[in-house]
Amino acid sequence: MVREDFICLTPLMIIAGAPVLMMLVVAVIRSYKVIYGLSLSGFILAFLSIFFLLPVIPHATGQLFIFDGFTILFFVIIILACLLITILSDGYLVYQESEKEEYFIILYTSALGALVLAAASNFVTLFLGLEMLSISLYVLIAYRRSRDNSIEAAVKYLILASGASGFLLFGMGLIYVDTGSLEFTKIVMALQSSGFSSPLLLTGFSMMVVGIGFKLALVPFHMWTPDVYHGAPVPVATFIATVSKGAVIAVLLRFFYAIEGFRNHNFILLITVVSILSMFIGNLLAIRQQNLKRILAYSSISNMGYLVITLLIGTKGGIDAAVFYIASYIITTIGAFGVITLLSDRDNEAEKLKSYTGLFWKRPWVAIVLTLTMLSLAGIPITSGFLAKFYVILEGLNAGLLVLVISLIINSVIGLYYYLRVVTILFSPPNDVKFPAISPAGRLVLFIVTLGILWLGIFPEWFFNLIARF
């Protein structure tokens, strides 16, 4: 192993080493504070170690990982998101009666899975990362098993995700049979000589689409999303919506752009259909929901629909738009779920839309954060969501994807309806529901998120430059 390999793997090793350390500590003393401190410092350390990667990229370690600017961007996004989720989880775990130390250990293994996905350059690492992520999530979803729907959600996710993994694995197998390699670069070479003609390959890719589509909750593989979001503890739902999806998008973008899937008419047709269906079905189903978590679940379906448009753009601009979109989506979603997390108490999660009636007049700052996240999801100016949509529309039009862009616009209008509904409820005359006070750490998270949404929405230039440089 050369020195560069070692440097590049540092973030991964920190994230992999931390849970081991935590397990050892738990064996000696079971102290929640220590474990929480360790998990915070682990993520911070991993984040700092990314700076050491900058001089050595791009670099490939063996056949398994690739570390380039794209990987770094996603590392930063994932680790920062994990950090925020850790802080949010702290406030939430107070209400957990039984052991809560293991929560962070499992959070770490799932974060490791996400990072592996972001750096994967091989089917082996792709599958490894995905499974590490999924298996950790089965546990996390059921972590507060005394809650209603918790076990149901976990079992649902377990069964469906295993099915999806099976499809994915079979698809990889078929592609391996045809091309003789598991490495992205070699598959690309094989494709260049033979094209997409072989039926074996096409079957393989279609099966992979099922697996990936499930993870991203694209229609028609979206059925699990609302139930799992609803049943999972809020911080875990946040993790699924942000980190898990971000990581899968990362590997999908890398693979799809490597094989130049945007040139193949089968793929174009497939993704166009999936994207349009996701947008419409996600948005239309969200309209009648009464539960904020479910609204966000359906909103995530439609947002992934918008995001896969970038797959078909096929230029550097397309990748940049996707990175900006996912960054904006992640920070916005953490904000929205963050508010739910921080307003939840021992017995109830603050998920019923009705309980938010008149929040603005009782707790103005929290309500403003939630309003901003809703406006950002709806794509209204001064929020990051507006520029994210703008970027996708811009690059989409540049690539001539008129149908997709127009359906994005139609869906922005449909989406507006239910985002506005949430905002209207926040500003209605107040009810007598009491929400718990928010801890300073929770306030910090909301502050960072608000700042992020506004900063990306008003002064996006530095971020555009950052993305463009990597």
């Binding site: 001064i382 811009l394 039009l397 127009i406 616009i409 922005s412």
Partner: protein, 524 residues
């Protein structure tokens, strides 16, 4: 920089009003008045400085990069047209703060925050010289307006606020699509990717493409104006909004649509505009007649006033698509006069509602005895609305009709019928509310000093505009000519000869001074 300050003062004032609203009801009101007056003073300073400097096409031009990656800049500029509309914005802003003094008691801080942010969005729209920035401000004013309607509105406010937001957002997105498409078309043909208005002017494209892009812009502007098939949101939003909201909606928000037509649609798509002109004029006439008819059929006083807006805005689009200077000048005057007269009528409705808590005209009648001063101002505003000579609307409608006459005699005749209809519905207001038999005995007080000041200032400006419109016409002239210039070129290319008649006329008028009278002689 001073232009940026115009917007920033309002934004900061809004934030400050919100914060201070916690401690006192009075502070937000005072802060809003101060911020708006400050802007008005700045505008007067700009205007005076300009008169000394002479007639440049742009008085002040301010440009810094905002998102250079996409060629987006913070480009603000002011000329005569923007100047007039900005002054109007601040004036209407002051009025709407004053009329809310007694009407709004709950959440005063947030209310004034919304008012000032709407006004800053509107100011931004009137100043933007970058299409992305323009869209940014276009959307920025929606959210606070939505709050204004949905929090402080009447019974059916939620429905009305949704309708308003979704109509404008949907149409705005179509414009956004056109803006981006224009960006690419310009970028691909010249290699310069920019959203800058000045640079995008004169982008060459195929006629069909131009027409499609223009349709995107038109979608946004025609919905905002509104023009008849897209007017559906207006009666609801105007009726349900609090008085200040209705005044801003009618006085300013509708004007952004007209401004968009003059500033963006005509210069950017001259050929497509010429193609669209007959349809535009027909839409205008339909709006005039249909709006008037609907206004006549209302029993809710506020809804009636709302429909008169549809009718008056019909004149605007009619005048814009007549493509000559007289009509276009009429449009500018109409924008101002309508803002004042309809705003005044909404204020009247608000004052009545504060006193008798109903907007139903069938329950009113014979109020003159009780409130003679209110009745008198009411008659003046109704007369303004029907286009009585001596008040602003007369000049506006007369100029528009005189201009349109050269473009299409048939349309002018039909539009004239609208004036008759306006007389009917305006007189009906007076008849049903102030005259006639008393249906219910109300025991109400007449206008207070504050209300008298508001009404008096509106009456004075309306009379001034009706008697001495020359200053407005002179100020708007360069902008109007700029907007018509591209159209003239297109037409002369098409027909081979310049259609200079209109501009010759107007030069005479403008040197002459006594505009309306002289014009009348010429016309007949």
């Amino acid at each position: 920089m001073i232009l940026l300050f115009l917007i920033l003062i309002l934004l900061a004032g809004g934030a400050l009003a919100w914060i201070t609203g916690k401690w006192s009801d009075l502070l937000p009101r005072v802060i809003s008045l101060v911020a708006l007056s400050l802007d008005l003073i700045l505008l007067i300073a700009i205007y005076n400085g300009q008169s000394a400097a002479g007639n440049n096409s742009w008085w002040i031009d301010y440009r810094v990069d905002w998102i250079p990656t996409f060629g987006i800049s913070l480009h603000l500029a002011i000329d005569g047209l923007s100047m007039l509309l900005l002054a109007l914005t601040m004036f209407i802003g002051l009025v709407s703060v004053l009329i809310s003094w007694k009407e709004i008691h709950e959440k005063t801080g947030f209310f004034h925050f919304n008012i000032l942010w709407i006004l800053s969005g509107i100011s931004g729209v009137f100043l933007s010289m970058d299409l992305f920035l323009f869209y940014f401000f276009w959307e920025l004013m929606l959210v606070p307006m939505y709050f204004l309607i949905s929090i402080w509105g009447h019974e059916n406010r939620i429905y009305a606020s949704y309708k308003f937001f979704i109509y404008t957002q949907a149409s705005g997105l179509l414009m956004f699509l056109s803006i981006i498409a224009l960006y690419f078309i310009h970028g691909r043909s010249t290699g310069i990717y920019t959203f800058d208005y000045i640079q995008l002017l004169g982008t060459t494209m195929a006629p069909t493409v131009a027409f499609i892009l223009m349709s995107g812009f038109l979608a946004a502007f025609l919905v905002k104006l509104p023009v008849v098939p897209f007017h559906n949101w207006l009666p609801d939003a105007h009726t349900e909004a609090p008085t200040a909201g209705s005044v801003i909606l009618a006085g300013l928000l509708l004007k952004t649509g007209a401004y968009g037509l003059i500033r963006f649609v005509l210069p950017l798509f001259p050929e497509a505009s010429v193609t669209f002109a007959p349809a535009g004029m027909i839409l205008g006439v339909i709006g005039i007649l249909y709006g008037a008819k609907l206004a006549f059929a209302q029993t809710d006083l506020k809804r009636l006033v709302a429909y008169t807006s549809v009718s008056h805005m019909g004149f605007v689009i009619l005048g814009v698509y007549a493509f000559n200077e007289i009509a276009m000048q009429g449009v500018v005057v109409q924008m101002i006069a309508h803002a004042l007269s309809t705003g005044a009528l909404f204020i009247l409705v608000g004052q009545l509602y504060e006193r008798i808590h109903t907007r139903d005209m069938d329950r009113m009648g014979g109020l003159w005895k009780q409130v003679p001063v209110m009745g008198a101002t009411g008659i003046i505003f109704a007369m303004a609305s029907l286009g009585l000579p001596g008040l602003g609307n007369f000049i506006a409608e007369f100029l528009i009709l005189a201009g349109t006459f050269q473009a299409s005699i048939l349309m002018t005749c039909l539009a004239c019928a609208g004036l008759v209809a306006a007389t009917i519905y305006s007189l009906r207001i007076v008849q049903k509310v102030f005259l006639g038999k008393e249906k219910t005995t109300w025991n109400i007080s007449d206008l207070s000093v504050r209300e008298k000041i508001i009404s008096a200032s509106l009456v004075i400006t309306l009379v001034y505009l009706g008697m001495l419109p020359q200053q407005v016409i002179d100020t708007a002239k360069p902008s109007v000519l700029k907007s018509l210039n591209s159209i003239e070129q297109t037409r002369s290319q098409n027909t081979g000869k310049p259609t200079g008649e209109a501009s010759i006329w107007c030069d005479e008028i403008n040197t002459d001074g006594a505009s309306a009278k002289y014009l009348k002689c010429k016309l007949w």
